[in-house]
Symmetry: C4
Subunit: 253 residues, 4 copies
């Protein structure tokens, strides 16, 4: 069977697509952000990506209806530009699979519609709890670096020190080198220990500014506050542990 | 060499095949069920599936005759419909291999005979001992969900929470998305700690009702009682351990 | 690059090849046996097998000259029949690689020369020390089972319980199913803890009888005695441990 | 997508290329050496190697500009000969990937320019600290063995005992067997515990003699002294530990 199969659910006429990726990863920051976009903007689900580089698995909906693991593409028209969201429950299972999936998607988008920008969203795991997670950036062109900076995105030399691994990285890299498309990655700082809605909210606020879109943040704000409460609880527990001499939890704080 | 090679042992004229899968998995529930069907219905062994995605291994019969690891296809005519059983000692070795094997089989069946339904059998591991294991269901269409329910199959939201992994899942998923064939999975609850004949008996009883077939259950009933005795023994041992203060076995019960 | 590349060092006219495999494995029994055949019969090294399914590695000779990891084919004319020995330092790195290597070799031999028999040599690991290791057998036809029995090869139902894994198994299995060639495997019982020359000697004695060939066993006899001394030493050490109460070594004996 | 894609940044007319490889490995000896060549000779970066057998990752420069993980080719004209340096942050992710990458590179160089020699640089990990790391050699022809010896390279039978694994090995092996190109490997002895600039300096001094090139060693000398100081510190710490009875560090020294 083919490495990757992209099935259209609906024929669309798109031009100058901006791809926005939010697959699972550190703190699930990127996934939370894109899933929130899908929930609030109600974009059109127009294609499914199947691949032997995804887990051999079906997922069940609330009725017990099974569907093959896939990544999904959604379309939302925002003023002059066509936003395409990439969402899903899984990234590619292997390094080779990550390449195949990203390459097939970029090939599909550029051949069928034309694509002119890639934004990938993710978490930057720090291994410690944070009061005020920042949004860090990286980009495949200096233009986007500068655009990101003008929206308050932090560029901090040597962070993340080993670059960006997985879909958020490979889409930028293949996009630039193989398809000539510029892109940038927004990374929300996160402990990495929890599903981090606060970090996702920060990433999404920044993205909304950059692409000039209104997003109802209410639900994510609520989840963000829940994240904060969880963090406070964890921190207090850690401090108690510390004052009682347990050194294993020293890294929290 | 080709990824998957299906060798016909006998030319058959089949129409509207119903595929019934029972490969090894949690509690070996699916395998026990299909192996029992093969033992009692004595279907015709008409094809072998070889693949580099199966272990590089030969198995020995009681005379010491070696045969290459394979999955096997059996045919049984049941009233108007052609049942094809998929049995074997192994599932695919890798995620990619699982896809290749399932795709090659569905391609073979649909090109040579036509296939209109897929039932996959498996276990749902709960990690604890059960008095009365239920049969849970999932299906790739609401029609089959409803048909399953009318035969007492339990649909419980969020169970199994990560869907169905392996051959039982991928056959349903690829069947639906790539071949347009509906299907359902029957999952016998099981501790997952033992080869669970009781769970397999329950699955098989349900399947027999659904496809309208008489199956001599005697041998499986006996093995099922043995399972029950084994469970009782394990449970008593666990309880003794508990009352003597060993907390490591708390999960049994 | 191609999966497997077989480079001829010399053009030969062979007919009705009997393939004899002895690659590394449990107790290195098969490798010791075939390496001894090569040392004593001085067969002609006529082909090298290279593959990306072997380790990415060069080996060094005593002068420091590096050569790419390969499996090697040797030819020895024995009365009416052409023996081809398969030797090497490594088996395929992955399950898929094992299939590719075995398939490519059988394809090469059957297309270029014709091949009518496959004997594979290996160890059967028992996990305990043995006074008198037997030679167990398995074969892909009843004829060879019977031929093996008439030479004292032991067929013991359920041994080895999970069949034969690796090159010794896959050559028999693919040979039978894909190329129509019968074959058999001779397995020397071994603890599996040491490189077992005694077990290899037993396997080789049996093989020599079966194919009707004289082999100078002197060097292997000496190594076999060394094996025996090593085993005695290990056993005595184990017994001392036992009598001093260390139960961890109970399995030796 | 293709296994390996080599993108030219600049068209060059090269003849009789000498390939010099220095990818990451034990003690990063090879990488340090080639990176130093690149820093001091300022060769022309003329091609990039992308592959799904490299990590799915982008790396960031000091401005936050992301670039897809790649291996890089540099050209430096040295008297009559064209030196091509192979540098990068990663070797192939899998054994198969190592083969694919090495094969694609050699194929590219021989088809486009002609290549007549391969020198690979690496570390030989000894697992213990060394006062005076030697430079060991291996080569795919006796001519190069002799040439290496005349420059003081040590050939020590049985070292390294399992040959040379990874890019430094596979380039020599594939070069010889598939492309008919001789080559040699220079291995700097190293503990393997640290990034070893002292070992890299020794390797580079030897290489400079062999290919007849002047290299400004200043910076590497400084790093080499830092290595030495680090080793002294580690050794003293280890000795203190030892004298205080901690036997776990016995291997240092």
């Amino acid at each position: 069977m083919d490495d990757v199969v992209i099935k259209l659910r609906k024929e669309l006429k798109l031009e100058d697509v901006t791809l926005i990726e939010g697959l699972p990863g550190v703190g699930n920051v990127g996934k939370l952000a894109v899933d929130h976009l899908i929930k609030t903007l109600k974009p059109e689900h127009f294609a499914d990506i199947y691949s032997k580089h995804l887990p051999p698995q079906v997922l069940l909906d609330e009725k017990g209806v099974a569907s093959l693991v896939s990544q999904k593409l959604y379309h939302h028209r925002n003023k002059e530009s066509d936003l395409v969201f990439l969402a899903g429950e899984y990234q590619g299972s292997t390094p080779e699979g990550q390449y195949e999936l990203a390459h097939a998607l970029l090939d599909f988008l550029s051949k069928n519609y034309g694509i002119n920008k890639i934004y990938t969203l993710g978490g930057y795991g720090l291994g410690k709890m944070l009061e005020e997670p920042r949004v860090l950036g990286a980009a495949s062109s200096e233009d986007i670096v500068n655009a990101f900076k003008s929206h308050g995105v932090v560029f901090s030399e040597g962070e993340p020190s080993n670059g960006i691994v997985g879909a958020s990285g490979i889409l930028l890299g293949l996009g630039k080198e193989f398809f000539g498309i510029d892109g940038g990655c927004l990374m929300g700082e996160t402990s990495g220990y929890i599903v981090d809605a606060k970090s996702a909210r920060n990433v999404l606020r920044t993205l909304a500014e950059i692409i000039g879109i209104e997003i109802d943040m209410k639900e994510l704000e609520i989840r963000s506050e829940e994240t904060e409460e969880l963090l406070t609880t964890l921190k207090e527990a850690a401090e108690q542990e510390l004052s009682s001499g347990n050194e294993d939890l020293r890294y929290i704080g």
